[in-house]
């Protein structure tokens, strides 16, 4: 589904990614953890080319995103994204947020798109908020709408960029519940997160990125139970220390 080979990314003189290799198969749930500034969000943002890789290859469902002939807008419909700051469109209703992609990108008739929109809002438990505007929602509700918006294009993979990091603690659960449901339905997911409980419970594979490279990866049981990399051990120790 996704093949990343020798991915490098620099911002000016700052080398953020120094050769990342990662393969994600269909239906897999991969969690990426790591300290802030380690480049984990950058990996995610290179997959749908919100950041242009400096070098390396990224192939999403057979589309090489570095190839100038690739229609990147199409690839983006195949790889939905959920942002830390939600980034809902504040001037549109919740339903319009969800249906914009299907109508403008997929050219779906409005009635069909709204039908789909209501279904997806029901799926994230927000059917009653279809006519509300984003500013009337809590953070957890906003993020669930953002998930519905990403789902509306029926993507093959969803990229989650720290989806719960901007939420009040009591709202984290409702978002993770929706994500668990998606995982159980077989959605391919790449999740950059600090939620170790979620990673342990839901991920098929956990990846630790630090200093621009993948330091360790494995099934959650080994990854958390028997970490080999000293940096990972140090990182997990600190996280337990802060009660996360």
């Amino acid at each position: 589904m996704i093949e990343i080979r020798n991915l490098h990314k620099s911002f000016g003189d700052l080398q953020v990614l120094k050769g990342v290799d990662l393969t994600v198969s269909a239906g897999e749930v991969v969690c990426i953890i790591g300290p802030s500034g380690s480049g984990k969000s950058t990996v995610l943002r290179c997959i749908n080319r919100l950041e242009t890789p400096t070098s390396g290859t990224v192939v999403v469902d057979g589309h090489d995103i570095m190839d100038p002939r690739t229609d990147i807008n199409y690839v983006r419909t195949e790889a939905g994204m959920v942002f830390q700051q939600f980034n809902l469109f504040p001037h549109m209703t919740v339903l319009d947020n969800v249906t914009l992609g299907p109508i403008k990108v997929r050219r779906m008739p409005k009635a069909d798109a709204e039908h789909l929109g209501y279904d997806l809002l029901a799926k994230v438990g927000l059917a009653s908020k279809a006519d509300a505007f984003p500013e009337q929602l809590s953070g957890g509700q906003k993020q669930r709408v953002a998930i519905a918006r990403a789902l509306a294009l029926q993507p093959k993979v969803i990229l989650f960029d720290e989806p719960t990091s901007a939420l009040d603690p009591e709202l984290v659960g409702e978002v993770l519940e929706v994500m668990k449901k998606l995982a159980a339905e077989g959605m391919t997911m790449i999740v950059v997160t600090h939620e170790m409980g979620f990673a342990r419970e839901v991920a098929d594979r956990v990846i630790f990125i630090d200093q621009g490279v993948i330091q360790e990866e494995g099934a959650p049981k080994d990854f958390f139970g028997n970490p080999k990399n000293p940096r990972l051990r140090d990182f997990l120790g600190k996280i337990v220390g802060t009660g996360r």
Binding site: R76, G80, N87, H91, T93, F133, E135, A152
Partner: protein
């Protein structure tokens, strides 16, 4: 000893009736002023949006052209621009533009430069996350601008646009120097006949005030309508 202002030979006496009588005589000038303002701002808005979008466009040349335009216009007085266009340019090209058309061009070109900055500023003030969210659902750059960024940016443009509209309306008075029979010039012609400068210019000022307040009021209503639209339900 401060220099004394030369006065009318007879002792000055304020005549409110002259103000009232002057108002209907100013109507012809009011129409010219409205015509210049509406026409100038219509084209000025188109010009300003184009130049504003060019200033944030990817091609280097587009940014350079728009930037130079804004700098040239902002850096020179509108009065000079008007006289250059009406008296100067014909000497070079041999064609004199009719005063009214010249006036509309000056208002358009002048307001366009300021509107370009308003448009650019408003668009750049929208969080980059909005663009990323738009692009992430597969919208093109143009679609993201049209459906996501522009509607939000336009709301932020209204107060500074209102300001610019009022400035442009008042600036039409400068066009009297190229012989457009707008409001101030009409007043001046009346003064030339009746010598009641105090009352006539007071009436002129009142008419400008009514027009600028109307613009402010109309834009306030538009702004409220756009804001309320995201607060129902």
């Amino acid at each position: 000893m401060p220099a004394s202002v030369p006065r009318h030979p007879m002792a000055f006496q304020f005549e409110p009736s002259v103000v009232v009588d002057t108002l209907p005589m100013l109507m012809r000038g009011v129409w010219y002023t409205i015509y210049l303002t509406v026409g100038g701002l219509f084209f000025g808005f188109l010009l300003g949006v184009t130049a504003g979008l060019m200033k944030i466009a990817r091609p280097w040349l587009a940014r350079k052209v728009a930037g130079t335009y804004v700098e040239l216009i902002r850096g020179t007085p509108m009065l000079v621009q008007a006289m250059f266009l009406y008296y100067g340019v014909p000497m070079a090209v041999g064609i004199r533009i009719p005063p009214l058309m010249a006036g509309i061009i000056v208002i358009a070109v002048n307001s366009g430069a300021y509107i370009a900055e308003i448009v650019r500023g408003a668009i750049q003030s929208i969080n980059v996350g909005q663009t990323e969210a738009g692009r992430s659902i597969g919208l093109t750059r143009a679609q993201t601008m049209r459906y996501i960024i522009w509607p939000q940016a336009f709301k932020r443009m209204i107060p500074p646009l209102g300001n610019q509209f009022i400035i442009s309306l008042k600036d039409t008075s400068l066009l009297m120097v190229i012989g457009v029979g707008e409001l101030l010039r009409t007043g001046q012609e009346i003064v030339a006949v009746n010598f009641r400068a105090f009352e006539v210019y007071m009436a002129v000022a009142m008419v400008y005030l009514v027009m600028t307040m109307s613009i402010a009021k109309a834009l306030k209503m538009l702004e409220n309508r756009l804001i309320n639209r995201t607060k129902r339900a």
